[in-house]
């Protein structure tokens, strides 16, 4: 018999003596480990209740997550204003996903400008004071939505900024070149945590005395510059992949430097860089959890605050950190899916 599950197992799991030993060994470990885990996660878990006294069974106390879910996701943002956060997240999602379903012309003429404006529109909506909504100070912004907003806002600004730095690095003008190299190497060579501390301590020195620059604004600037340094290097790889003939063809048509760069080179650079751009995005997004250390109430600090709350001192660290891990994983996986769909789309557009 050469087909069927028995044959498959014989070929793949028990093909030789070492293979058989390895299979048995791994199965034994899994058998030891999985039932307990499933039991803790699901079968003996506590699913409903209000306080930790409702967690009577041995398993996970999901009541903890439930009770704190608003904090985890929206921080201390006023409950009646939470629709503003949802609106901004909705805008972000619809621009990113929507751009997959429109024609190339609409994408470049409408979705790209929308995408670049999004951080500023979101700030207007979330802050509210400039557009006649209830003002909400950044002290109340927090939770996982803050991780998403900070990462997205930094990525969106770093997108063009990194491109300009990469162009500067290729420039024949000595000043533009050396400034770009300096910026790129600085922001790539210093750990992001050190940059955060420098941002909180040093950045205010650059602003005029007496102005109190918002903490989140400083974080945004630091994240953006850090990201731009990485993006510039990603773009550099993309530039190297463009054949010289593309530049020559653009030159021979009489296109100016900027026309050539934006119409011919940029789209092709973006296309070849797409996998690396996504990898950089994911890295930056995960790095937003470092913000806990400088006292920003993002998801990880919120979780710690919840864990040390006097009503919830029952030791819910497992549930809390598992939940945080799941949130990050879900968003990163989502970005993977979106990016591979963009890649497929670009591929089919160029050679059907």
């Amino acid at each position: 018999m050469t087909t069927g599950i028995v044959a498959w197992m014989k070929n793949n799991l028990f093909s030789s003596i070492p293979n058989t030993i390895a299979t048995v060994f791994i199965l034994a470990i899994l058998a030891n480990f999985i039932p307990g885990l499933l039991d803790w996660l699901f079968f003996s878990a506590n699913w409903s209740g209000e306080t930790q006294d409702d967690c009577v069974k041995d398993g996970a106390c999901w009541v903890f997550i439930q009770a704190w879910s608003q904090q985890f996701f929206y921080g201390s943002y006023p409950t009646e204003e939470i629709w503003r956060i949802n609106l901004c997240l909705g805008l972000l999602l619809s621009v990113v996903i929507g751009s997959n379903f429109v024609s190339k012309t609409i994408r470049t003429k409408i979705f790209v400008p929308l995408f670049l404006l999004l951080p500023f529109v979101s700030i207007l909506i979330l802050n509210g004071s400039w557009i006649g909504l209830e003002p909400v100070s950044t002290d109340y912004w927090g939770g996982f939505s803050l991780n998403i907003f900070l990462a997205a806002a930094s990525i969106i600004v770093a997108f063009p900024l990194g491109f300009i730095w990469a162009l500067g690095r290729r420039s024949t003008m000595p000043l533009a070149k050396s400034i770009s190299v300096l910026l790129i190497e600085f922001f790539r060579g210093v750990p992001v945590l050190a940059l955060f501390f420098m941002g909180s301590v040093m950045l205010p020195l650059f602003f005029t005395e007496g102005t109190n620059v918002d903490k989140l604004l400083r974080v945004w600037i630091v994240l953006t510059l850090f990201m731009a340094g990485y993006m510039a290097e990603v773009y550099r790889g993309g530039f190297n992949a463009i054949p010289q003939g593309q530049y020559e063809a653009a030159d021979s048509l009489g296109l100016s430097y900027w026309q050539k760069t934006l119409l011919i080179i940029l789209p092709q650079v973006l296309k070849v860089s797409m996998p690396n751009i996504l990898a950089t995005f994911v890295m930056l997004f995960k790095n937003t959890s470092f913000l806990m250390i400088i006292g920003i109430f993002e998801i990880l600090s919120t979780t710690q605050a919840a864990l040390s709350n006097s009503y919830w001192l029952g030791g819910h660290a497992n549930e809390g950190y598992l939940f945080v891990a799941m949130l990050f994983w879900t968003v990163c996986f989502g970005m993977s899916v979106i990016s591979s769909s963009i890649e497929r789309k670009l591929n089919t557009e160029h050679r059907k």
């Binding site: 054949p243 003939g245 593309q246 020559e248 063809a249 653009a250 030159d251 021979s252 048509l253 009489g254 296109l255 100016s256 026309q259 119409l263 011919i264 789209p267 092709q268 296309k271 557009e349 160029h350 050679r351 059907k352």
Partner: protein, 256 residues
């Protein structure tokens, strides 16, 4: 006059004047004292062994290559460092490359419209009308919506020719336009070039297609070692070469 040759359109107006042109790559002297005057409507074929500087010479004409000494005037515009002059010359000179160099992220129609829309500032509808006119001339209007990667090499090269023509150039440069093509596709590209020559386009063509040279060229130039070694009418050039190096070269490419 050679009976095979299409009628000459050459006029007395000088459109390219190259004087004592010299170019070095570091220590390597690629072009040595090149002197060449091209008249409006003239068709010139440039041949020579690889590394002889023939591509480099025509690439100097639209400033894809810089030169260090000498002067170059195209359509009355002096080739100097000034970006304005360079862009003015490039608008006047079309170029077709060995590897087509179409823009892979744009459709055929978008490839053709790019120059008219962004350089000549024409409205989109007018640019598309021009593009379709030239696509019909190179006989592939039905491919307008496709991407370059979906076309054969011969089709891509015809698109590249059409893309240059959309800019309505006075001079066309061809840099080995058929060298990257499969044999069965060479003819379709040469046919387009012959048609263009018959319409009186000023052409400088680096090629080893000697049949094409005999048929359309007013003058054949032989280059070797960065110099123009010999130039003559095709008939004289092929039947009665004067210089030994030319004879050796012709033996090699005609009798293989």
């Amino acid at each position: 006059m050679n009976t095979e040759n299409t009628s000459s359109h050459t006029t007395s107006e000088e459109v390219i004047i190259i004087k004592d042109l010299n170019k070095w790559y570091g220590d390597f002297h690629v072009l040595k004292d090149i002197n060449l005057t091209v008249h409006k409507g003239e068709r010139i074929v440039i041949c020579g062994p690889s590394g002889s500087g023939k591509s480099t010479m025509i690439r100097c004409i639209n400033r894809l290559e810089e030169f260090q000494k000498g002067s170059l005037v195209v359509d009355g515009i002096e080739m100097i460092e000034d970006v304005k002059n360079i862009e003015a010359i490039r608008k006047d000179v079309g170029m077709v490359f060995q590897h087509f160099n179409l823009f892979p992220h744009l459709t055929i129609l978008e490839n053709l419209c790019l120059g008219p829309i962004w350089v000549q500032k024409k409205p989109k509808a007018e640019a598309e009308a021009i593009a379709m006119k030239y696509l019909e001339r190179v006989k592939i209007p039905d491919q307008a919506g496709k991407y370059p990667g979906q076309l054969s090499g011969g089709q891509q090269q015809r698109v590249a020719i059409a893309r240059s023509l959309c800019m309505n150039p006075n001079i066309m440069l061809f840099d080995e336009p058929t060298s990257a093509l499969d044999p069965e596709m060479i003819k379709e590209v040469l046919d387009v070039m012959i048609e263009l020559a018959e319409e009186g386009m000023t052409m400088l063509c680096v090629t080893h297609e000697m049949g094409f040279a005999k048929k359309v060229a007013d003058r054949v130039i032989f280059m070797d070692g960065g110099e123009i070694v010999e130039q003559n009418t095709p008939q004289e050039f092929f039947e009665n070469p004067q210089v030994d190096r030319t004879k050796t070269f012709l033996d090699q490419i005609l009798n293989h």
